[in-house]
Symmetry: C2
Subunit: 356 residues, 2 copies
């Protein structure tokens, strides 16, 4: 068993799941799929191979109370707090400083907290394969076999297979492809050898810090200063001072697309993004009606209804998203559910803090 | 000023306005249009010409508490309670017995409690014209000038004008026409001289009792027995005994269509039936969006939303009825909102007493 650590990313506003997700309770803190929240589920699925002492979370200050409430087993100093959001390259860099101070030999899996993984055993196999490659010095990403020519994801083109003893094959990455146009997506799916970029990475901490030094030197300098201050009374002031020097960018842009030693493990793990009501609906019910409670449907099909504690009666409506909360009700066709961002933007402009 | 009485009819289940209307609170007890309920509004609009001492309500036993709650000014014995529903011919016959005992000379306006009248001053003029004709022995109905070839209403064909001094013309009725097919409705609207039957009548009590004797003799016999028992300790037992002998029919079928001395007053009073969500929506907002509370509409038009105390966000939906109550949520296209009856029938079959 390798000395594998897990870093859970708990940033992001998740406004596209409004009115359930709110500023003070983004989607990773919601029980969208099951009784456990997405954050809890993210931790649950690695617990069989990673003890709680090796699990860290990086998050903005406002999330701290919710994280401790939902993950009471986590030690206080395992929640790494970023002063304010500057993109996930800075957030992960900060956490890498903490991990390097905790265990310079650490191999760490960086996992977003707002995804669904249905095949947990396979997910753990994939993590172990990625760990094997990471121990050989690769920056490893997980690649999801596309089930459709989705234009909402970035893609990864895989190259030759690496000669690594692992439960799942590991391949070099030829290149990262940003969210493609429809035609390009169709070609990649037809050609094979292309995977969705799900934003999950496994690497040796020292190896990724080297990559920061090479590709994001400003952030790397901040990481070095933070690392030296850990455990000292100067920590908070050093962090506050160097944080604004970090690069505002993402791991994908800032590190993964630029590094040369990137590998990918094809991950057939039943992975789903639940970044919009339509995607969430597809996960829970495919094209069937789904309701959180009693549903009477008269000639009504393909609707997703979240209206806890009440009966919903639908007559002659199709493929709607209906989300009923105590202070807000959303109704939209599934195909337009991403436009909920427009609603949230209007609420911001109108200073409706109570509804954000 | 004639000695005009008003009898308000408060029967009917109003299941087509579920989930707001419920078995124990049918639509006349709801604030569908304004702060006042339809029942209160029905009384409000006659108060300028009819003192409260001459206002009666006929209703089933279960409605009695709500009637006294909503019309506290009404004396207890002005609420005439029918033992159980046997159609409005029996209910009105029972009330006529009460009125005949109260004032044998009474002229009474029989008014349903589930309509909307926008032009109150004109409505009072129409009532006074109808009263003038009623005092001459006519059974008078109010005729609504059709605004569309609606197939959901019965029609009245008007004949020659009566020579009566009144603020609005009064005409003889040639015939009553049941809910027509589309083509027939279009012809009547094009021809003119046809009116919607809104179920409002004005007549001398003794005159309508004569009509009962002629056309509904069984009910007339019951009316006679009830009338004699009023004020005596035998009243309840007599009522219980004779009630089951009354004809199960409506005023339209049983009396108005058969009587020869029927007159009609064209009533340009801004009358609206609110018997379905689509009709109610048309009254409150025409073809515009309408919401009981805050509404954010993104490319969404013609929707009717009742969701008190919360913000509703609509994206890309058209002409929907949305009714959100604490225990039930209805969503339907306006054009299919009458199918809510199907939902109510399913709830009955499933013994969902809590939702009926």
């Amino acid at each position: 068993m390798p000395r594998l650590y897990v870093l859970v990313l708990s940033g992001g506003a998740g406004t596209r799941l409004w009115p359930r997700s709110r500023r003070d309770r983004p989607k990773q803190f919601l029980d969208l799929i099951a009784d456990r929240t997405l954050l809890q589920d993210t931790v649950d699925r690695v617990r069989e191979i990673v003890p709680v002492e090796r699990i860290f979370v990086v998050a903005p200050p406002a999330h701290r109370p919710l994280i401790h409430e939902q993950l009471p087993e986590l030690a206080t100093d395992h929640v790494v707090v970023e002063p304010y959001p500057r993109g996930n390259a800075a957030a992960v860099g900060l956490a890498m400083a903490a991990l390097a101070a905790f265990d310079p030999e650490a191999v760490v899996a960086v996992l977003p907290s707002d995804h669904v993984v249905e095949r947990r055993a396979q997910f753990r196999k994939v993590l172990l394969a990625a760990t094997a490659a990471a121990e050989r010095g690769h920056l490893v990403t997980l690649g999801i076999a596309p089930t459709a020519p989705d234009t909402g994801f970035g893609y990864i083109e895989a190259g030759e297979r690496l000669d690594i003893e692992a439960p799942v094959e590991v391949r070099l990455v030829k290149r990262f492809i940003e969210k493609p146009k429809r035609e390009a997506a169709e070609k990649m799916v037809a050609d094979g050898g292309h995977f969705w970029n799900a934003g999950m990475f496994v690497w040796r901490v020292e190896e990724v810090i080297k990559a920061y030094e090479q590709h994001l030197p400003a952030t790397a300098k901040a990481i070095g200063a933070i690392r030296e201050a850990i455990g000292s009374p100067r920590y908070e002031s050093v962090l506050a001072e160097v944080w604004e020097e970090t690069d505002r960018t993402t791991l994908d842009y800032g590190i993964a697309e630029k590094a040369s030693n990137v590998a990918v493990v094809p991950a057939d793990i039943g992975w789903h993004d639940v970044g919009s009501w339509a995607r969430l609906a597809a996960v829970v019910s495919g094209t069937e009606n789904w309701s959180s409670g009693d549903l009477l449907a008269e000639d009504a099909n393909g609707n997703y209804v979240w209206a806890p504690g009440k009966l919903t009666a639908l007559i002659g409506v199709e493929d709607l998203v209906v989300v009923d909360t105590p202070d807000a009700l959303l109704i939209s066709p599934k195909g337009r559910s991403e436009e909920v961002k427009t609603i949230v933007d209007r609420l911001k402009r109108e200073d409706r803090e109570d509804l954000l």
